[in-house]
Symmetry: C2
Subunit: 401 residues, 2 copies
C-alpha cells in the first residue's frame, strides 16, 4: 500500500525519537533526568480541576464550534491586561496551540506557498507545514547573538512570490530569545511592505526574565489586520494535558475562514473548556511566582553549562529552554552516549538534539535544546551530570582522534 508523500516526508519528532534509549536506560535501573521535553512540574491552578469536577449535566453535549462564550470572554479579559483588545468574535478556541497553528497555516497558505520562519524553531512547525504542503523558509539566527533576528535586508531577501507570512514564536522555543520592540517593529514593517500575515506564537508570553520589556504583536496597531496571535494554556498554566489553545485575529475575514475549519471538527472538549475559563482568571501574582521559579532554574542550568570549555550560548531571557552549542561534532551521538554509556551513581540526563529545530541542512548538528523544567535541586543534579558527561565525552573523543 502507498502512503502520501507529504506525511512520508515528515521527520520523526526530534523531541521524542530518542525516547527508546531512555526507556532502555531505565530498564537497566538508571535514573534519567529529562531535560528533553517541556513538561513543567508546576502545579496546575486548582480552579481548573474544581470547574471540571463541578460539571453536573448528565449529557456531555457538543460545545459550540468557536469555543464556549465563557472561555472566550475570560480570554478577552486576560488580553486586556496586556493592552490587547479583541472582540468576542475575533477569538477562536482550538485543540491546543497546535490546532490553532495548523488551521492558520491552512487558511493562509495553499500547497506550494511558504512561510518565513526564524530558525531554530519549534520543531512541529516543520511537521504542520509539511502535512499541509506549506514550505518553511528559514532565516537563520545564532547562539552567539542570543538568537536575535538578522537585518531587515537579510529577511527580505528570503521573501518570494509564494511567501504568505512570517511565523515566529516570542519568547522563542527553543531559543529562549525575547525579541526587542525594535525587532517586533521591523517584522511588522516587513509584513506591511510585502503584504504578509504575521503568525505570532506567544504561548510563552509570561516567561520573560530579568525585568525585560515584552512587546506582543497584538500591541502593534498598524498590523492588526494581518496578525494572528496563537495562545495555549499548556505552559502558561502548566496544563499541557488540557489541549486548550486559541487564536485571536482582528481580520474578520480570516476568522470566518478558520471558523469553517472549526465547524468541520465540530468543537473542542467541553469539560476542558470549562476548566480553562478558570485558568484565565488566575491572578497575575501566579505568574510572578512561577516566573521567579523559572528564573532560578535558568540560572542553575546556565551557570553549570558555562563551566564547560567550548559551550556557546547566551543566557536566554524567556521561555524555559536553552539552546547550547556543545564542543562535540554530533550532538545526537552525544545524547545517545549519555543514555547508553554514561552514568554517575546510576543517574544520567536526556537532552534533545537541536538539528531537528533547523530547516537548513547541517545546522544545529552540534547543538542541544535543554528544558529547565525540573525542581531546583533535581535540575542542579541534572546540570552537574550533563557537565560531567560532556567533559568525559569530549576527552574520550580527543583520545580517539
Amino acid at each position: 500500500m502507498k502512503y502520501a508523500q507529504r506525511v512520508n516526508a515528515m521527520q520523526a519528532s526530534p523531541i521524542r525519537k530518542l525516547v527508546p534509549y531512555a526507556l532502555e536506560a531505565k530498564a537497566r535501573g538508571i535514573k534519567v533526568y529529562h531535560l528533553n521535553i517541556g513538561q513543567p512540574d508546576i502545579k496546575t491552578p486548582k480552579g481548573f480541576f474544581d470547574a471540571v469536577k463541578n460539571f453536573e449535566n448528565e449529557v456531555l453535549e457538543y460545545a459550540v464550534s468557536p469555543g464556549i462564550p465563557e472561555l472566550i470572554s475570560s480570554l478577552q479579559e486576560y488580553y486586556t491586561t496586556y493592552d490587547m483588545h479583541f472582540n468576542n468574535d475575533e477569538i477562536l478556541i482550538t485543540n491546543g496551540g497546535s490546532e490553532a497553528l495548523l488551521f492558520t497555516m491552512m487558511a493562509t497558505c495553499d500547497p506550494g506557498d511558504n512561510l518565513i520562519v526564524p530558525e531554530p524553531f519549534y520543531t512541529n512547525y516543520n511537521g504542520f507545514s509539511q502535512c499541509v504542503n506549506v514550505n518553511v523558509k528559514p532565516i537563520t539566527t545564532k547562539a552567539e547573538n542570543g538568537f536575535h533576528l538578522p537585518s531587515k535586508e537579510d529577511i527580505i531577501s528570503r521573501i518570494d512570490s509564494k511567501t504568505k507570512g512570517i511565523l515566529l514564536s516570542n519568547p522563542g522555543n527553543p531559543t529562549g530569545a525575547v525579541y526587542t520592540k525594535e525587532e517586533i517593529n521591523m517584522i511588522a514593517d516587513i509584513a506591511r511592505e510585502h503584504n504578509l500575515w504575521i503568525i505570532a506564537d506567544e504561548v510563552y508570553r509570561e516567561f520573560v526574565y530579568d525585568g525585560l520589556d515584552y512587546t506582543s504583536f497584538g500591541n502593534i496597531k498598524e498590523v492588526e489586520d494581518r496578525v494572528v496571535i496563537i495562545d495555549s494554556v499548556s505552559k502558561r498554566y502548566s496544563a499541557c494535558g488540557a489541549r486548550i489553545g486559541s487564536l485571536a485575529c482582528k481580520n474578520k475575514g480570516l476568522i470566518a475562514q478558520i471558523l469553517k475549519l472549526c465547524q468541520g471538527r465540530l468543537c473542542v472538549a467541553t469539560l476542558e473548556q470549562l476548566g480553562a475559563v478558570e485558568l484565565y482568571k488566575t491572578p497575575t501574582s501566579y505568574f510572578k511566582e512561577v516566573n521567579a521559579e523559572y528564573k532560578k532554574r535558568r540560572d542553575v542550568l546556565y551557570n553549570e553549562l558555562m563551566k564547560v570549555d567550548g559551550v556557546v550560548c547566551e543566557k536566554p531571557t524567556g521561555a524555559f529552554y536553552i539552546v547550547a552549542k556543545l564542543p562535540v561534532e554530533n550532538a545526537e551521538n552525544f545524547v545517545i552516549w549519555m543514555l547508553t554509556e554514561f552514568n554517575k551513581d546510576g543517574e544520567t540526563v536526556m537532552a534533545c538534539p537541536a538539528e531537528g529545530f533547523y530547516a537548513t541542512k547541517g545546522l544545529g548538528r552540534d547543538e542541544v535544546r535543554l528544558a529547565y523544567i525540573l525542581k531546583e535541586d533535581d535540575l542542579l543534579k541534572a546540570a552537574k551530570l550533563l557537565k560531567e558527561g560532556l567533559e568525559q565525552y569530549v576527552s574520550l573523543s580527543k583520545a580517539k582522534a
Copy 2:
C-alpha cells in the same frame, strides 16, 4: 489580505448555517424543535464523569501521543466483542472521529488525489478533504433504494489514477443505510483489485435496527492491510463533548505515518481519555436499551413522514437520521420558511437541507436530513409540526403556481 483558496472554497456547514434563522425565531418567542443536528439527549454513562472527577494529580500533564495505554486496551477489548482483533500498536486515539478522518486523508492522499465516497455523505467529509486538497469523487445513491450502493461496474467507473481509497460510513450518516454483507464484500473486492485504501467510518456501529446483521470492514480478513476503522465515543455513548475518537489499522506502515501526525499535535486531552476508558467498558446491555429507544423514535418520525403525499424515503435501518425527498422544489427555502413564517401554537421545527451532503451539483435540493434524537413525545410533536408545515407549504406553493 489574501486567504488560501483551499479554505475559501469550503462551504459553510449545512448543518449549522441556518442557525441564525432559528435564533431569530427563538427571539420571537417561538419554540424550535431541532431535528437538524445529531446531538442525542441520552445520558452519558456515569463512569465517564466518575473517572474524570477521581483524577487526583496536581499537574495536568501531556498524555502520550498515540493515546493512553488504558484507553487503547479498553478499546481493544470492545473490538473483540465484534470479532475485530487489533494489537495495541494498531490503535491511535484522536481528537474526535474528525481528527482520525483528517489524519487518514493526509496520510493516504497527496494534493490532487481523490477518494471515492457514496453520496449523500457526512457533510464534513467535504470540508476535511477540501482543506487538505483531496477531491471527493461521489458515487450517487438514492432515497428510492434506501441509499444502497450501485453496481460494482458503476463504482469502478469512477476510479482513476488519482484514486487512493474508498471512504464510507456504515451505518450511514445521513442516509441511515446499513450495508449488506454483499455490499461490504463488493467494496473489499474493488479495493483489492484496484489497490485502494478503505476508510470505514463506523461511529454508528451499534445503531442498527430490525434485527439486521452488521458487517464491519474489520471483519474482512482479506483487506485487513488496507482498512482503517474510524470510531468515536460521541454518538456511541452520547459523549459528543468529549472529543475522543480513534483509528484502528493493521497496516503498521500507515500507523507509523499517522503517528507522526499524532506526535505533531502532541496528545489528546488527558482527562477525557480517562473518562473514555470507562465508556468502552460499558456493558452491552446499554446498547440494547439505547437501540430500542432509537428504534421507537425512528418509527415515530417515519410514520408521520409517510402520511404526507409526495414524501419519498425508505425506512432507514441504522444510525439516527432519515433523508427524505420532499414534495418541494428547494428544501432550504422550506426549512427557512418553517423558521420564519410557520408556527403552530408558538412551535416549529428545524430540519437540515440535504444538498450540502452531496458532491454532485444539484442533487439533494429537494431533500432534508432529519435526526431522530429527541424524546418520543417531543419527537412526535416535532414530526406532526413538520407534517403540518410541509402540507401548508405545498398548498401555498400550488396556490402561487
